[in-house]
Symmetry: C2
Subunit: 214 residues, 2 copies
């Protein structure tokens, strides 16, 4: 008797993430899952990026927070389509939350969707949302040792943005040490050193992002 | 027939936390559970605090990290007894991890034990360790909206330390807005505005801490 072997069973979350991905692909939307510590500058990066997009690339945003609509209000004030997800205490977004949010976003009228995850450098990495790209936003004040201390997050990133770079010296931030830690975990991953305040490095980051558009 | 009603069953974690607390009390040690975002300055606060302690108050440290011994090495270099717990990916310390670490710390030779939790502004608040005081370390670069966005953490704090205060202006940090959010969640909770770099405010924080010693 041949025993049936069932392989690669997806978790419930991964199943829904795969369905989300199908919906994103059907609409031709490139989706970013932005992950970071609290206050690293995820919302600032979204706004700085949108400012530099060519007119034909239409953005959208899903804001994930435990509570409040502070970031969603900021994004909406710029005229960008945005949906707020309040997780009600959960430390990360998951794929079902994204699925529930989708009917509220005009996917057919956008090309680039930023999902701003809850500020958490650990748990968010463990839950697929259906995004094309996992992007980690680090920041100078957090210190250059973060890849060594939070390896899971950096190991699974498709790109890393190091923000608040205008303050690298103030925080004695050794970019080479940071880069070595990152390279050890995730060889070849693109690193963009930017300052959302001064605009330094944003152009290079946006150029890379546009190169990922289909 | 009278039906027995069993009340207030402790979770497995809370049971072990209660046992830890008994061990701490028996040794006469005041224990702090230090929680914060990654890079807020938990280790810096420990070192700045220890520098200001009267000689008769003997410190000890438990360092919690996903990986690495970077912080424990820094603390050990100052001659402070320290144990490293690597959670192996878990986003928070829990009471059983502390119990396992305890035989490696000379509790009878210390008065003040700092437990530096994993950098995480969400999950760490949900797991009692047996500490006397839950202390949240916020920092200026994270922004003044954190109590509004991460209410659980700030609501359950016994004290809040706002670090990197030498950079409040650089980050346009509105201390009153921060304080109002905190006060709404946790009326009367002590807030200490400090800079571990300049030493500002450390004296007031240490004075409060010493007033908590039995």
């Amino acid at each position: 008797m041949k025993i049936p072997v069932v392989k690669e069973i997806l978790s419930a979350n991964d199943q829904v993430a795969a369905e989300n991905r199908v919906a994103f692909d059907a609409a031709g939307v490139l989706v970013l899952n932005l992950m970071a510590s609290p206050g690293a500058g995820k919302t600032s990066l979204i706004l700085s990026t949108v400012d530099q997009l060519p007119e034909e690339v239409r953005p959208g945003v899903i804001e994930g927070d435990l509570a409040s609509t502070i970031d969603a209000d900021t994004v909406a004030a710029r005229g960008i389509p945005v949906v707020q997800i309040n997780t009600g205490g959960s430390c990360h977004l998951d794929a079902p939350m994204i699925r529930i949010a989708l009917p509220n976003l005009p996917l057919d009228e956008m090309d680039l969707l930023f999902i701003e995850n809850v500020g958490n450098l650990v748990c968010t990495a463990d839950f697929a949302l259906g995004a094309d790209l996992a992007v980690v936003v680090a920041s100078a004040p957090e210190g250059h040792d973060k890849p060594y201390k939070y390896p899971g997050m950096f190991a699974s990133a498709d790109a890393v943005v190091l923000n608040k770079a205008d303050l690298l010296e103030v925080f004695e931030f050794d970019v080479d040490y940071f880069r070595r830690g990152l390279e050890m975990l995730n060889p070849g991953v693109p690193l963009f050193v930017v300052s959302c305040r001064t605009g330094d490095g944003i152009k290079e980051w946006v150029a890379w992002l546009l190169s990922c558009l289909h």
